[in-house]
Symmetry: C2
Subunit: 229 residues, 2 copies
C-alpha cells in the first residue's frame, strides 16, 4: 500500500519470485517509484503482471483472508496480533483452501488505521522491541520464507558425508603409526601406548569415505620421503 | 565478503539490529561502498562497531564454527549442504556454547571456492530452483530470522478476542429477531423457523465480548427507528 521506493518494490517482487509467489498487487504506488521499479532488472515478469489498484478494498476484494503486517508499539491495536511463526501457519492453512492477501504498508507510515480496518488480523515479525521497524523488502522476504518454510526440514538428519569403513580407518592408522616411528616422533619404548592414543585420535576424526584414498596417499608419500632421508 | 553495494551493507546491518545480532565483520569491502554505507542512516551504531578484515581467515579466526551461504546449482560442492530450517537449528545450538560465523559472499559472485574452504558446512535458503539467487540484504534478514525464530511460538494458541457470553449473544439474537419482525423481513407464519435460523447464524458470528454493547446499541437504534416509521 503506497510504496515510495522503487528498490523496495523490486525487492518485494524478487523475494516473491525466490519463494514462488506470483500475484503482486499495488495500492496507489508513487508514480515515479512504480515506473522505475518496472524498468529495473530482476523479477521483470512478476512486475509486468502486477496489478495496480486505487484502494486496498479493491485490491483484496477476491480474498477470503486479509492479513496486515505491523511493527506495532506505536498505536493501539484493535486486531488480534500474531507472531509470524504462528500467523504464518494460519496463512498456510488458509492458502490450501482459499485466497489470502498479505498486506504491507508504506515505508514511512506502515498501514493506516483505515487500511487495518480491512484486515482480519495482524502479523508481527518478532523483531527487537528497541528496533522493531524492518526494511520493507526485507520484511516481505522474511514473511514469505516463513510461508514456504518446512517444519519437517528442521528435524531432518544432517547430510554428513559417508564415513570410511573401519578397515579403511585402520589402514590410515597403521600408516600414521609407521610414519610416527619412522620420523622419530615415537620411540620403541613408548610405541605401544602412543599407538593406542593415535588410534583413538583417528577414530575421533570421522574420516569420510571419499577422502580416505587421498589421506592414504599423503601418508604413503610422507613415509617414502622419511624412509629416504 | 567483498560486498559492493552500500545499500546491501546497510540492509545487512539493519536486519542484524532488528533481530538482535551485533557483530558485523566485513572482508575487503569495496572502499566507496563501505564509506557510503557508514554515512547512511539506520543501524549506525552497529556499522560503527563493524570490523574490517583483509581475509576471511582473519575475520573468522576466533570462531569455532564457520558456515557459508550459497544458492548452489552453479558449482560442485565439497561441503555438506543444509537447508536453512535444519542448519539454523545447528547454528543456534552452537551459539549457546561458542562463537559462530555466518558468511555471505559478494552480490555478484557469492563465496569463492577459496572462501568455501574456510567453512565447515554450507547453508541454503530454500528458494525456487528457477530463481535461487536472493538479494544480499534479504538473505541476511531471512537467515537471522530463522536463528531467532521460536518453534514454540508456531504452535501457540491464537489470541482471539474473548467471546461474548451466551446470555449476551441471546440478547443480541432477541433484538435481531424483533427487528426482523418490525421491519417486515419475517411474518408471523414463518417467524418460528426464521428465529431458529437466525439463532444459528448469530452463533456462527463468534461475537467478541468487547463489541457486544456496540452491536446491541446498533440494533436498539434500528428498532426504535423502525417502530417510529
Amino acid at each position: 500500500v503506497h510504496p515510495r521506493n522503487p528498490l523496495n518494490i523490486g525487492a518485494a517482487a524478487r523475494a516473491m519470485s525466490n519463494f514462488g509467489f506470483s500475484r503482486l498487487r499495488l495500492v496507489g504506488p508513487y508514480e515515479t517509484a512504480w515506473r522505475e521499479a518496472r524498468s529495473a532488472v530482476g523479477a521483470a515478469a512478476l512486475l509486468e503482471q502486477a496489478a495496480v489498484f486505487d484502494t486496498l478494498a479493491a485490491a483484496v476484494a477476491d480474498c477470503t483472508l486479509v492479513v496486515g503486517t505491523t511493527s506495532i508499539g506505536h498505536r493501539e491495536l484493535h486486531h488480534p496480533l500474531r507472531r509470524l511463526e504462528y500467523g504464518g501457519r494460519l496463512l498456510r492453512r488458509h492458502l490450501a483452501a482459499g485466497r489470502a492477501a498479505l498486506v504491507f504498508g508504506s515505508e514511512k507510515f506502515g498501514l493506516s488505521n483505515e487500511d487495518l480496518a480491512h484486515c482480519h488480523w495482524l502479523l508481527r515479525i518478532p523483531t527487537r522491541e528497541a528496533h522493531g521497524s524492518m526494511n520493507l523488502g526485507q520484511s516481505v522476504a522474511v514473511c514469505l520464507y516463513e510461508l514456504i518454510r518446512q517444519a519437517r526440514a528442521a528435524t531432518a538428519p544432517p547430510k554428513s558425508p559417508a564415513p570410511a569403513t573401519a578397515g579403511e580407518v585402520e589402514r590410515f592408522t597403521a600408516l600414521l603409526i609407521e610414519l610416527l616411528a619412522a620420523s622419530g616422533y615415537t620411540n620403541p619404548k613408548t610405541a605401544a601406548s602412543a599407538a593406542r592414543k593415535v588410534r583413538r585420535m583417528v577414530r575421533r576424526l570421522n574420516l569420510p569415505a571419499r577422502d580416505i584414498e587421498t589421506w592414504l596417499g599423503i601418508l604413503r608419500q610422507a613415509l617414502w620421503r622419511t624412509a629416504r632421508t
